[in-house]
Amino acid sequence: MAVQPSSSAVRALSLEYRGLQDEPVEGFCVKLLNEDNLFEWEVAIFGPPDTLYQGGYFKAHVKFPPDYPYSPPSVRFLTKVWHPNVYENGDLCISILHPPVDDPQSGELPCERWNPTQNVRTVLLSVISLLNEPNTYSPANVDASVMYRRWRDSKGKDKEYENIIRKQVLSSRGEAERDGVVVPLTQEDYCIKTKVKPDAEPVDMYDFYDDDYDIDDDDDGDDDDDELSENGEAWVGVTEIDDGDDSGNGES
């Protein structure tokens, strides 16, 4: 790596990663590509129900720059995705991942661009909504864009686009099966009910003084800084497969 990652990037990423483990967000799951490296994540996006993408399982690599969150991550699909805003090589083109430089050519407003309060969650939610609502003003895949518009303008009569997507969704389910993941198919399953944590503890004033007063009840073991590697392996927000019940025909 050319630039040494800043400690603030490491902190921000480990906070985000842990946050996503504690409170998974609907529609995707994340894991580290390699336990020792917080800067490369593998994410799996679930196709939203009631869209062409329903049941789809789209894997992508998310790479974070050394100065994250001041600069945006990049997203590259590993799963084949025929989409107006995805390049042939899988690179995703979405305004939220572009730095807010003034570029009138792009047709993107600076206000739609990256800023440091964006995070993995907001990015992936944008990606999920982009799936079903492509941006045809600045297509990364012109053929897909033309085909999509034909499908949309014919109100679904021209099925070429739809057929390709359905085929890709079908073949992505084989991948989900290999990963032991059940892709949620209904709105209900898709939306994880966020459970309220029983011990949403306020800032404990005790912590401030622990150092000063040497109160020796320090064995409650709440040094939660090192838990990352323990869980680094696990997918977050995944329903475990129990058997291959809707495995179906994972061909393409």
Binding site: R11, Y70, N115, T117
Partner: protein, 84 residues
């Protein structure tokens, strides 16, 4: 029983009064400091914009300095102006 106080030590606590718990840029608690600092408080103060959003001063400065054209609040994208 008579008690004679020979001495006493005052203890005070402080907190930032912000409308959030943590900085939207570095994601660290406001009562702590930004990721580049060691001590919270005067060394790593909070600043407010006219839009009422607040950040660690180091975090917002770093962001504003990287923006040549539009100095916007990263939260609400209004033009960033320091609140007096």
């Amino acid at each position: 029983m008579k008690v004679r106080i020979k001495g006493w030590t005052g203890v005070a606590t402080w907190r930032w009064v912000a409308n959030d718990d943590s900085c939207g840029i570095c994601r660290m608690p406001f009562d702590g400091c930004c990721s580049d600092c060691r001590l919270p408080g005067d060394d790593c103060p909070l600043v407010w914009g006219c839009c009422s959003h607040c950040f660690h001063i180091h975090c917002i400065m770093k962001w504003l300095q990287s923006q040549q054209l539009h100095q916007q609040c990263p939260m609400c994208r209004q033009e960033w102006k320091f609140k007096e």
